[in-house]
């Protein structure tokens, strides 16, 4: 019998479960996070309009990541702590 050295990351990975889903969008405050892909603003402008007109979303908060290649800064995530939901959105 031989002994092997574990080559994997052995830190415990406490699985994080997703936040509860929203029952409806009506009256909710949503954030649209623009990840800085080209023409993201145009896409999100239209999405914001649809969310308000068709789904009764009360308020839409807009934030922009400086680049889509890196995680959102902690301060930005903290700023969005008060909203009911976040849509992180692409474009291209």
């Amino acid at each position: 019998m031989s002994t092997l050295v574990n080559p994997l990351d052995e830190r415990s990975s406490d699985g994080q479960s997703p936040a509860p889903r929203l029952d409806s969008l009506e009256g909710k405050t949503l954030a649209l996070l623009d990840i800085s892909k080209p023409r993201g603003k145009e896409f999100l402008d239209r999405l914001e309009q649809i969310l308000k007109e068709r789904y009764g979303v009360a308020e839409v908060v807009r934030e922009v990541k400086s680049t889509y290649t890196k995680p959102a800064p902690g301060a930005l995530i903290e700023r969005l702590g008060f909203v009911d939901g976040v849509i992180e959105a692409l474009a291209d």
């Binding site: 019998m1 092997l4 574990n6 080209p38 995680p71």
Partner: protein, 539 residues
């Protein structure tokens, strides 16, 4: 780091007196010079009196020189009092603005035009840069131009600065900066566990089933083999070399050794693997993005210097293929660690649409014997006796055959045509590439007296996309054409492919027969993508 042509991202920071300062409000009416500094950096302190001189020359526009301090209130106040600074001083305590502007070191200057575009950026203390920035600001505002940095005033012409706080790993540990604060520079991590191989179980199948390498069999990392690697180096097994993105598993000496064993390395390759891991974990390389993107990019390791020859790395015929144990196993060891410690497995975090054969192993050495030019590591500022590893976020390898051109310019025009296709036909500006020159093409270039920088400049000036290619709207790159620079190549208007010559990296690789060079396209370049990083090979 933001470079000229980039839009300077808006930000707001508190002034030292607590009031709010906003870029978009202040840039109205004229240019702004943002100077990122650390209060304890000698080079930053050297630069302050020159910034003061510029502010004085600007007179009523003195507020257009703005210092962004990467330190807290007390330290910054001490600096301001010591130097009697009169222009705005902002506090970037959480380093968010520093991360966005992403200078590798400080002092870092960003000249932002009133249109909001970066017109100049640079790091370190350079008298010529200070004078050139002063000239642009003063003449732009209709003021008399004045030399702010006398070349003969006794201070050095240039002095390198200190690592920017946001890249100082310990300095990034401000509470609240990350949603899940992690220790970015633990010195030690727990030892690897030992696993008893079940009796009668095939060790190769066991390793595959245990997830050590689900896609290709590996050498089982037995305790004896790993111990032989640990005995060959002077570091403790639990010492952390880096945290591998995107899941930031600690790459301890022992974990590196176990993965190196699996990849088929020899113990002496640890000398190279340690700087390779350091480079891969460097924030500027952005392995997080490289591992998670849908693009095919993966790190290409380029070795330069005597260590490559000493350890048996191939740089000649077939160097990109299965030709030498050192190339194959070191490249593979990095890929194993990107999965086993970084946590990026295809279909999970690794979302590449196509993948890349380089994801098995992508490692070459420069062929110094066949190059008349300074080696890559010397070009990058290292001594000839030193050795380096350079990591480039690379797509696939595209060969360029040119067997008929008898001049250096002819060879380069053919390479430029392939180079113009990097990323996507109509995408210009923020793209980069490695040009791999074969020895026969290098001989032709050398006969025509091309230096390495001549080659780079020629390719920069002759690589473009003809404007007629933009007749069809709705294709990638057309939406960005307003940002492209128009140039003339062969009497035809083109958009320049690259925004800066440094986006073209050059190495000499390959055998002495066959006029086949190659272009390796990159991923997104610059501060918003992956920056090429180089680390010295040393213990």
């Amino acid at each position: 780091m933001l470079t000229p042509g980039d839009l300077a991202p808006d930000f707001s920071l508190a002034r030292l007196d607590g009031t709010d300062w906003r870029l978009d409000e202040e840039v109205v009416g004229g240019p702004l010079l943002l100077a990122f500094i650390e209060t304890d950096c000698p080079t930053c302190r050297l630069a302050i009196p020159y910034l003061k001189r510029l502010a004085e020359a600007l007179g009523a526009n003195r507020h257009r020189v703005v210092v962004v301090s990467q330190d807290g209130d007390a330290d910054t106040r001490e600096l301001v009092d010591t130097y009697d600074v009169g222009f705005p001083v902002l506090l970037d305590v959480d380093l968010e603005t520093s991360r966005t502007y992403d200078p590798p070191s400080v002092p870092a200057l960003f000249l932002v035009g009133q249109g909001g575009q970066v017109e100049f950026s640079g790091v370190g203390f350079h008298k010529e840069d200070l004078n050139s920035v002063a000239e642009r600001m003063l003449s732009g505002l209709g003021l008399p131009v004045r030399t702010v940095a006398d070349l003969d005033d006794g201070a050095p012409l240039m002095k390198p600065g200190c690592t920017s706080r946001h890249l100082e790993l310990v300095g990034s540990l401000e509470a609240g900066v990350s949603p899940e604060p992690i220790d970015l520079l633990p010195e030690r991590a727990p030892r690897a566990s030992r696993l008893e191989l079940p009796k009668d179980e095939d060790p190769y199948e066991y390793c595959m089933n245990a997830g050590f390498s689900p896609f290709l069999p590996v050498v089982p990392p037995t305790a004896e083999r790993v111990d032989a690697f640990l005995a060959a180096i002077s570091h403790e097994p639990d010492r952390v070399v880096g945290l591998v993105p995107p899941c930031y598993g600690p790459a301890t000496i022992e974990k590196i050794a176990a993965n190196a064993v699996m990849a088929g390395c020899k113990p002496e390759y640890m000398e190279v693997l340690i700087p390779v891991i350091r480079a891969a974990c460097d924030e500027r390389f952005n392995l997080h993005g490289v591992q998670a993107t849908t693009h095919a990019a993966t790190p290409l390791i380029m070795l330069s210097g005597p260590a490559a020859t000493r350890l048996g790395f191939a740089s000649g015929a077939g160097a990109f293929g299965n030709v030498a144990r050192a190339n194959s196993s070191v490249g593979r060891a990095l890929q194993l660690m990107m999965a086993n410690l970084g946590g990026a497995l295809p279909g999970g975090i690794d979302m590449s649409a196509l993948g890349n054969p380089g994801r098995f192993s992508y490692c070459v050495a420069e062929n110094h014997a066949e190059s008349p030019w300074e080696p890559l590591h010397v070009e990058l500022g290292f001594g000839p006796e030193e050795s380096t590893v350079t990591l480039f976020a690379a797509g696939g390898l595209t060969e360029v055959s040119e067997h008929n051109a008898r001049t250096g310019a002819g060879v380069l025009r053919t390479i430029a045509a392939t180079l113009s296709m990097v990323w996507s036909w109509r995408r210009c500006g923020r793209v980069d590439a490695v040009v791999v020159l074969c020895p026969e093409h290098v001989a032709t270039l050398n006969a025509d007296r091309f230096s390495k920088s001549d080659v780079r400049d020629f390719l920069f000036d002759n690589t473009g996309v003809p404007l007629r290619a933009f007749d069809h709207d709705g294709t990638e790159g057309t939406q960005l054409r307003e940002t492209y620079e128009e140039i003339v190549i062969d009497d035809e208007p083109h958009y320049r492919k690259f925004s800066d010559p440094s986006q073209i990296k050059i190495i000499v690789v390959g055998g002495t027969a066959g006029k086949f060079s190659a272009v390796v396209g990159g991923w997104l370049t610059g501060a918003e993508g992956s920056q090429t990083v180089t680390y010295p090979v040393k213990w």
